[in-house]
């Protein structure tokens, strides 16, 4: 790790700590909740506990996501709250798990699943979960055509987060650049519908209405009947699908 960007000295563990001091400092980081406790907390939040080692990767991701330095504010008219029908099941399944997990509730597995069994199989939030629970089928939607690795998915989320952050901060042009890079890199990406929906919104905000409408029309044709298609049509000023 590099020296932190402030006026404090290098961290002890990275500079002149003795062997004994390193041992003590290292031990402090060994203090962690048990796997069962982590699983209970994750279950209550409707998320999945990652495999060991993912935390480090995720921490690295945070730095990657910081590609946009803009401060996020809530976008009141964003398309973002709308999701495609393909992921509605995931959202609903997560929401029904929102009750706080009982501490002494029996845990069927060391790592609790993120959601209770959904009525139809849906993609797990991260690919790590796929690796841990191979019996969970990926939804038979067009999103499942591409084989997605954990790194891919994290990268995709970073793209979408960054675009959304840029959009929230009024950086529609920046958001558009990020979204186009995402769509180039992941032509069959897991968040392609959301990326295109955001692209429509960005184009409208930039005053490029003809492009936005053309894109929206294609999107609506491909996703006819979905909530996201209706929202895209609304943003682009199309007749409701």
């Amino acid at each position: 790790m590099n020296r932190p960007m402030d006026d404090l000295p290098e961290r002890l563990i990275e500079s002149d700590a003795t062997t004994f001091e390193r041992r003590v400092l290292g031990a402090a980081l060994q203090k962690q909740p048990s796997r069962a406790a982590s699983a209970r907390m994750a279950k209550a939040l409707g998320v999945t506990v990652a495999a060991v080692g993912t935390a480090t990767a995720a921490s690295t991701l945070a730095a990657d996501v910081a590609v946009t330095k803009a401060t996020a504010t809530v976008a009141t008219t964003s398309l973002w709250p709308w999701v495609s029908a393909g992921v509605i099941g995931l959202v609903v399944a997560g929401a029904v798990v929102g009750t706080r997990a009982g501490r002494h509730a029996p845990e069927p597995h060391p790592v609790a699943p993120a959601v209770s069994a959904p009525p139809t199989p849906v993609p797990p939030p991260v690919a790590d979960a796929v690796a841990e629970t191979p019996q969970r089928a990926v939804a038979p939607t067009q999103r499942s055509r591409a084989v997605t690795t954990a790194g891919d998915l994290r990268d995709q989320v970073a793209f979408i987060d960054s675009a959304r952050t840029a959009m929230s901060a009024g950086g529609s042009r920046r958001a558009l650049e990020i979204l186009r890079r995402y769509l180039d890199r992941y032509p069959a990406g897991s968040f392609r519908p959301e990326a295109i929906a955001l692209e429509v919104e960005a184009l409208m905000k930039l005053g490029r209405e003809a492009e936005a409408r053309a894109l929206a029309e294609r999107f609506v044709a491909e996703h006819r009947g979905s909530l996201l298609a209706r929202r895209v049509a609304d943003v682009a000023g199309l007749t409701a699908p």
Binding site: R11, A58, G94, V96
Partner: protein, 181 residues
């Protein structure tokens, strides 16, 4: 306060982000709460509450400040539970157990060593020390989080280091003496 089910993020990507930050930082949040003297069970509940609060404000959390946001939220949660000061917990018989369980390969012994050394650092200094040296926060983040001036962060860290290194040296010397006897 809304029920937990209503506080879960409404979009799939938000939930993926929540999952990512949970996996990256929940142990850090839990440790921060334990340092405030919460029991393991209370820290678990407070960690959960911290992430529920974060879930409600995901849009406001800058990606580069996720850890600092979570720790700040955790400290506010701890504050509402009446834990306003840091207390590095040390079992009463720690010194005695240490002398009979100090195998270098024994993680438990190392954890006990850590508790023993950090318990010797003043309560008003240890939080700055841990946040900087172990959790990797920057001084502006610590200043904002603890509501103290930047200069105070630097001075507390300097004094905390002196106390930490002094305590570590004493404990190490003590262990060596016991090993020779």
């Amino acid at each position: 306060m809304a029920a937990p089910a209503q506080r879960i993020p409404a979009t799939a990507v938000d939930r993926v982000r929540l999952e990512r930050i949970f996996n990256a930082h929940h142990a850090t949040v839990w440790r921060a709460l334990r340092r405030r003297g919460l029991s393991a069970e209370a820290a678990e509940d407070a960690t959960q509450e911290t992430f529920l609060l974060a879930a409600e404000r995901l849009d406001d959390i800058r990606p580069e400040s996720e850890k600092a946001f979570l720790i700040a939220t955790a400290l506010r949660v701890a504050h509402t539970l009446g834990r306003k000061t840091v207390r590095w917990e040390l079992d009463e018989d720690m010194d005695q157990r240490l002398s009979t369980n100090r195998d270098a390969s024994d993680k438990r012994a190392d954890t006990q060593l850590c508790d023993l050394v950090l318990s010797k650092v003043d309560a008003d200094l240890v939080e700055v020390f841990v946040l900087y040296e172990l959790e990797g926060l920057t001084s502006p983040e610590i200043a904002e989080l603890l509501q103290i001036p930047l200069g105070s962060v630097a001075s507390r860290l300097r004094r905390a280091r002196e106390q930490f290194r002094s305590a570590a040296a004493r404990v190490e010397t003590s262990l060596k003496k016991e090993g020779e006897s």
